[in-house]
Symmetry: C2
């Protein structure tokens, strides 16, 4: 990579340390041309193996970006924070070339809050044409405090100081609530919001079907969370619908913010939402505001039409309505009328995150649910998103049902579906624990150099292959989209589902294009090819030591990081085997097709993340065919099926064994 471009990534390293301290494997130093004190810089330069010289540029005016102090916490949910993040993104997008970007970024890095810098700089690198090929590193490496129990750091610090790097065998075992605190899941959520900011320059926010994707991605998170609850003999999560009642769920994060040097405040049991009066955050929201926004949104749903700021009708159409509604509910700057429909979803996060200090009298910051990098750890995230999803379902209930004609693919019949697990039984998914190591050292400011690993234990499953037998009764080749979903076979009482309930339990496993020749076809597909996940290595690999060398392999890593972690593709299941239904459908590609060319990057998890700078690669409503109420007469999944669909009984069997880390990780 030419010139200074590769140096851009060094600025993520050790976010609280000045640029003149060594960064990266080459111990590169990049003095801040504007302010550094020569005698101090030279102390560090002498250790460095590489020094980057930086061009002086006209320094940007940071203005109110500096109002967020360096040691404060940063949250996209806080309007004031979003606004200054948007400004900083614009600054980074506005400079002319890579050299200038490096200069401006160094200037900003030394002055701006480290979280704010990381977010805005990441968004800019993702969206600048000249930096698209950079592989944005995982935030977990630079802010491990958001993912790793605070006690780990104390021990890691001891190891870093006492034990010479070559003889470090210490690997701290880290216990997590395997779903809520999974590092890959939380990274996915962070990355999704990096790709789909709800406030920034309109060119950055206004992505194809972003509102609909907000609905669908979170609907899938809910389905997956409920699936895990079933795997643990828990019933589906209850919507948080009565906003005057106490929140019974407590949450104690056990995380320290290393930047803020504050632990994330816990929420004790039975706290109630309070009206917010936090001058420091420029937030003033009453629960009554929330209720008004909610009622106006539901009014729009049932009227089938929203109103824009000029009181003009914005019809909530069958195809585009969900996208508009997604932007209204979230809300993003694309909302047709943010003043009227408010900021419901975001403020639900904010109000909950300040439940311990609604008027700032205790000078407290927000809880984990107030930060998209950590929100999914909190059990209440799911109660809130169950509520938010219910609003979307209310809208979906108003839409025309899919007729048989809109589901069928005449002449295409699936005759058999099965999965085969590597080294296992037919139609049995195998799950277990696996350990993986992650290097904390790039996030441990002001510590000796050298890797310090933390060992995570997380869910994993054996690789498997789908085999689908399809009969194409036509004479010519036909194209179709193969859609694969999975749901529990029984509800929490052990009784078979009504379709209207089960449809919301389906998690998407894969979606891909197939070409069928005339006659019988056998389609096989490997689990690792899933359109919802990113490779396992993305979450845990060490950027420096495990980076693939050379062209093809490098390209393979050049996706955008958004995507469900592959190790969490299959829910945990149970020791006795959780009974599930695997649903496969092949829809008519003529009705699915989007005319565009994809260059093969950033589409690794397109079902949940879309494709960068492209249209969403499926013309159907997201969640199709489960996004509507069923046609008249359909009570069960079996009744719902057309010939181009098929259901197989499968089980997920969990074995309580723990695999050691893969060698090389």
């Amino acid at each position: 990579m030419a010139g200074n471009k590769k140096h851009l990534l060094l600025l993520f390293d050790r976010p609280q340390e000045p640029c003149f301290m060594e960064k990266g494997p080459q111990r590169t130093v990049t003095p801040d041309y504007a302010t550094d004190i020569p005698q101090i810089v030279s102390k560090f330069s002498s250790n460095a193996q590489e020094t980057v010289s930086v061009n002086a540029v006209s320094t940007p005016s940071l203005g109110d970006i500096l109002e967020l102090k360096r040691e404060e916490n940063f949250s996209l949910f806080i309007p004031k924070h979003r606004k200054i993040a948007g400004r900083l993104i614009d600054i980074f997008l506005g400079v002319r070339n890579v050299d200038e970007l490096l200069s401006v970024a160094i200037y900003a890095r030394e002055r701006v809050n480290p979280y704010l810098f990381n977010y805005s700089y990441s968004v800019a690198l993702l969206h600048r044409p000249d930096t698209q090929d950079l592989d944005i590193p995982s935030i977990a490496r630079y802010f491990p405090d958001k993912y790793v129990d605070s006690q780990v750091f104390s021990q890691a610090r001891a190891v870093a100081n006492i034990v010479p790097e070559e003889s470090r065998t210490w690997k701290k075992k880290h216990r997590v609530a395997y779903f809520r605190e999974d590092i890959g899941i939380n990274l996915h959520h962070w990355h999704w919001h990096l790709v789909y900011p709800f406030e920034a320059a309109r060119s950055v926010v206004d992505k194809n079907r972003r509102g609909e994707l907000f609905y669908y991605m979170h609907e899938q998170i809910m389905a997956r969370y409920n699936f895990e609850r079933f795997s643990n003999n828990l019933k589906r999560v209850e919507r948080f619908i009565d906003w005057d009642n106490p929140i019974k769920e407590a949450y104690f994060p056990k995380l320290d913010s290393l930047v803020a040097s504050r632990s994330w405040p816990p929420r004790v049991a039975n706290q109630r939402w309070q009206n917010l009066r936090r001058e420091v955050d420029q937030i003033q929201v009453d629960i009554d505001d929330m209720k008004r926004w909610r009622d106006r949104i539901v009014d729009a749903i049932h009227a089938g039409v929203a109103k824009d700021a000029n009181n003009r009708d914005v019809p909530l159409t069958e195809n585009e309505g969900i996208d508009i509604l997604g932007n209204m509910v979230e809300s993003s700057i694309l909302s047709p009328n943010r003043a009227f429909y408010g900021d419901l979803h975001n403020m639900g996060h904010v109000v909950t995150s300040y439940v311990h200090d609604p008027d700032h009298r205790h000078l407290e910051s927000f809880g984990v649910i107030g930060d998209s990098t950590t929100a999914m750890r909190d059990p209440f995230f799911y109660r809130w998103h169950a509520y938010v999803d219910d609003i979307f379902q209310k809208f979906k209930e108003t839409l025309p049902r899919y007729t048989v004609a809109r589901l069928d693919y005449p002449g295409v019949t699936i005759t058999d579906v099965q999965i085969q697990t590597e080294g296992g039984q037919k139609n049995v998914f195998q799950t277990f624990w696996q350990q993986s190591d992650m290097d904390l050292s790039r996030g441990m400011d002001f510590q000796p150099r050298g890797s310090v690993f933390v060992r995570f234990t997380h869910l994993q499953h054996s690789p498997f292959t789908y085999t689908i037998n399809v009969n194409n009764e036509g004479k010519a080749n036909r194209m179709g989209t193969c859609r694969i979903f999975l749901a529990p076979k029984f509800d929490e009482k052990g009784t078979p589902w009504m379709f209207r309930d089960q449809k919301n339990m389906f998690i998407e496993l894969d979606k891909f294009r197939v070409t069928m020749k005339s006659g019988r076809n056998v389609i096989t597909r490997r689990s690792t090819q899933s359109s919802v996940t990113i490779p396992f290595e993305r979450t845990y690999r060490d950027l420096d030591t495990n980076r693939p060398q050379g062209g093809d392999q490098l390209a393979q890593f050049n996706f955008c990081g958004c995507g469900w972690p592959h190790n969490m593709l299959i829910p945990k299941g149970t020791a006795e085997g959780l009974q599930c239904e695997l649903f496969v459908m092949i829809s008519n590609y003529d009705d699915d097709r989007i005319n565009q060319t994809i260059e093969g990057q950033c589409n690794d998890a397109d079902s949940y993340c879309g494709i960068k700078d492209k249209l969403y690669p499926d013309r159907r409503s997201m969640g199709y065919p489960f996004d509507r109420m069923p046609r008249d007469g359909v009570q069960t999944l079996q009744q719902f099926l057309t010939r181009n669909m098929r259901v197989a009984d499968v089980t997920i069997r969990f074995t309580n064994r723990t695999l050691r880390p893969k060698s090389g990780n």
Copy 2:
């Protein structure tokens, strides 16, 4: 100091770092003969300027002392913790000489929880005959996390790593709630409990009048806290009397435990006491237990007699009753019947400290009120101790009133009392803010060596002198005890006090012996001589750089560290001048005298702390003459006075200015 004795103090340094890392100004290393890995040790030895060689001894069996893990929090209020602390103290007290103590202490230090080690080792050094002359360093230097806002550490770590020691000008300003979070006040409280443990070998616990001193020291804390509340236009603190009602006070400590790598959990508003079921702490206490203990104690007060474990009468006599009651209420192992009278005061701390997680389902540790080093930060500390003090007052109400004969000193008349502030007005105390620096570096484990200062802003007052004119009408010299107290002149409604209420507002300023010649005497006394305080320098001075050289000066520092911080002797007062009454009494020394010789050490603050290994130096009931209800007919302080007492109207005037640190500090 001979041989290894001075090395004993090095073990306090950097409590989480192993012994083989450099300690103290000489960068001394003391390898643990039992386990250290030679190649790692030699890395550190090469930097050291001094290496201590340690004799191998038969290693003590630590047994259940190791059940408290190194990264857990430690609290004397938790019975399991007290028990193992008592065992470790006994181990340290049991070894034969200083060399052996060093070996055993190093062995223990590398294995035992750092807080537990610090406490037990400190108690042992204070109580061993051969280490009495050691100056036990302030815990704030080794565990600054208990006293300093967590945000300070992040910045201190940056400074320690970036800035060469010789050019460190950074001094972090630290904001405190000036009374509750005053470092000297919290150190006093910690030190008091170090001198007066309530559970250890009986020889260590059973000190002269310890139960009474528990009552009196905390009664004085309450009087001082209420005085500060008056200085801030707040009314006296309300007792926490209804144990079923919510605690309205929230507290957010903003402290991290560096050992536990956990922040101290906050308490949000309106939490209720819960029955405790914490297997991990071996604590099982119901609020009903607390109520039973309370009722049995009050029954004993009103019956005038307690029952011991064999159901024998233990009369609560006029002079000794308060001492017995103090041990019952606290409770200490001296309680006449701990099974029956329970553990009321301690468990009040514990129940409150676990209000956020009473059954350990969230794996949380206790709040600050559960640790005597930090308890005084929490506003609820004062509500609880107001309740505890009320129990003692209930008992005091049953005692015979002081007759004039028991107050008067026939032939001794005080004719005038005044104070003169340096550079100020007569009878006006002057208060203001002062800054002082403290070196954090000995508590910052795994950081580069060299001082890192934090700058505290705390209350201070101008030095002043009492002048007391006394007429001795007799022919011969007379001896007396001069007792000086201060209280607000009006209650919170601005009306003059009833004596029965004002008596509980008096804070002791000084108590000293006087000899009066026949005729007129002018007694002068400097504020810095106070019998309740320890010198300002004790709290803030740097042990190494500011240590006085040579005999006399060294002796001056060899007190025991217990005592009210001198800068907090005078309450803050108000800008317009808080009107107060200064009370001076000279009592007949014949009734005060204790026959003992005092060698002049550890009596610096004897009014609140007693004298180490000696009898309490005043035969009167503690708090005399304000510890009883007034005799019949006495409604006001003026009516209470006998000729040997005098009251002067004084004011405390606060000026909102901040003095820079004294040079050399």
